[in-house]
Amino acid sequence: MKINSRHIITLFVLFLHTALLAETIIVCKNCEFTNIQEAVLSAKDFDTILIKKGTYKEINIRIDKPLTLLGENYPVIDGEDKGEIITIYSDNVTIDGLFIINVGTSYTSDFAAIRVVKSENFLIQNVVLEKLFFGIYLEKSNNGRVFHNKIIGDAVEEFNSGNGIQLWYCKNVVVEQNIVQHVRDGIYLEFSDNITIRKNISTNNVRYGLHFMFSNHDLYEDNVFENNGAGVAVMFSKHIKMYNNTFKNNWGTASFGMLLKEINDAEIVGNTFEANTVGINIEGTNRIMYRNNDFIGNGWAMKVRGACYGNHFEKNNFLYNSFDISYNSNINDNIFKSNYWSNYSGYDLDKDGIGDVPYRPVKLFSYIVNRTPEAIILLRSLFIDIIDFSEKVSPVFTPAELMDNQPQMKRISYDSN
């Protein structure tokens, strides 16, 4: 609250300031300024630079004072593959309505279309980036907003491509309604806390749609991650909230809807994992609540590897997955309760909507496939059904106590919850 009230006061002061003193500098082909860099140099604090439609071949535009760069009808800034385009070194900078193309690719420095360095209160919106290396790169910058941008890269390989939106040591940043495609990682967070990532669409990226490293207390919700090389990775982070996201069509040998590694105390609620090779791959994750998620038609709804303790799986729908849960050991410390499993074949004699026989989501065959991956070709064979059944009756290889004692008879509809 303290921070917020300070914010409001600052914004108010800024507004007064701008209203009273700010000027608008126009850049166009036949104007006084035909070059953005020159306009920035001669601008005063809180001025607006209005860039008219046209093509501006510029790199290294350095913004070191609070300015608004406003494009009219999407003026093009063409970096001609030479280097970084805009670098912001000042608080209170707004970039709005630009079309930036041809950011330089380098193996030694991470050229970005727009970089924000150690600045506060920035706003980057309505920007279109194409043919880029890094897109929007936030470095040790706080209290900003990246809103409604479109980033379309042409990345093919990991080693010579950059990330769409990257946050490094940032705090309190909102990344909202952006579209990111064909870059290395759609959105990348490292050492960034209290970040909100909302309603973004991150698709067809070479590596991850979203990538978290060492970032805590972040929220991401209502995003769509589709057809990314390896899905979404959340690693070495705490207290992450993941609500109502969609993870779809991430196919491949090392692909998953979401990879969780060394994650503690997260909440994963209301997400949809559909048609991924692995819905969620978890490794060393503890005390995570999974609730009201839909796992639909994945190869494996969940793969549990390594030490995962105290996780709760409640009221999720597991629908038509080739495997529901796979464990690579027969030790279990996680709780499965009141989920709906489409593979459940039990009955409900007392008609209370809960199956009378517990459901064992881990099949012997998933254990075999872990050991001998080629055996996957025997999926759904009658022989496999027979050995799965005998394992179900007397578990040897799979965790004996791992079962859902209250399997639901009907698919859970979340609206009524």
Binding site: W251, S342, R371, I376
Partner: protein, 260 residues
């Protein structure tokens, strides 16, 4: 041959068993859909049925029809009709009437359910097509068994054994060898072993549609090429056709030499 086919079909379509078979599928489809009310689940259950039951019924029906129609065959043999036409005609008669029962029996409830406007349409079509292929293959295999065994009981025994072997034992041996040799690269072996059993072959063809996301989880390049591209579907389909043609050719060859 078409005349024989016509009369065989005619004969079978009036037999009680065709109706039992047809009614069974009709009921199965209806129960699956309307009790469960879940199309995706119905398709998965149906896959198990098609892979296990269709070969069994094809085998038993093929053997049974051959032995039951022996006199009819002898009657035909005295007519100016080619031997190969008689046997191929009868074989096709059984196989096609079984296929018809399957397709119509399952098709009707699914059509009523509104499969045509649903996303599962392509999966359902694939199921029916593989079911038809399995019927053709196993009826042909059964005919071969029956042609080689004068003794009815023996013929039935071998037919059931064949089914048991293809449906269960084969996969058991397959899995054991995969586990026994797990330190070797096995993807080529497993693909070839799959091709060598029509039940596995059809199963994999359906998996390509139902479980592609799981199949792509395996790292081998050969699997990747097989499952990740159309290569797998093309090869599997060609193999299925070969699996129909080879036993049919053997029926033709055996029929030429057999005494009655």
């Amino acid at each position: 041959m078409l005349k024989i086919l016509k009369y065989s079909c005619y004969d079978l379509l009036r037999s009680r068993w065709s109706y039992v078979y047809f009614a069974f599928y009709l009921m199965l489809g209806t129960v699956l859909l309307f009790l469960n009310n879940d199309l995706s689940k119905a398709v998965i259950t149906l896959m198990n049925v098609i892979i296990v039951l269709v070969p069994l019924i094809g085998t038993i029906f093929g053997v049974m029809y051959y032995y039951n129609s022996k006199e009819f065959t002898e009657l035909l043999l005295a007519q100016p009709v080619k031997r190969s036409s008689i046997f191929l005609g009868q074989y096709l008669g059984v196989a096609l009437s079984l296929t018809l029962s399957l397709v119509v029996g399952l098709g009707l409830p699914f059509a009523f359910y509104g499969i045509f406007n649903s996303a599962a349409m392509s999966e359902f079509t694939l199921l029916l097509v593989t079911g038809a292929f399995l019927t053709l293959i196993f009826t042909a295999l059964a005919y071969n068994i029956a042609l080689s065994n004068e003794n009815k009981i023996k013929g039935f025994g071998y037919a059931i054994l064949l089914w048991l072997f293809m449906a269960v034992i084969y996969d058991g041996v397959f899995l054991m060898s995969l586990i026994a040799f797990e330190e070797y690269p096995l993807d080529k072996f497993s693909l070839i072993a799959t091709m060598a059993n029509p039940i596995d072959l059809s199963r994999v063809l359906i998996l390509l549609k139902l479980d592609i996301s799981a199949l792509l989880g395996y790292t081998g390049a050969v699997f990747q090429k097989f499952f990740g591209t159309n290569f797998g579907i093309v090869i599997s389909s060609i193999m299925l056709v070969i699996w129909v043609l080879v036993p049919t050719y053997f029926i033709y060859r055996k029929a030429k030499k057999k005494d009655f």
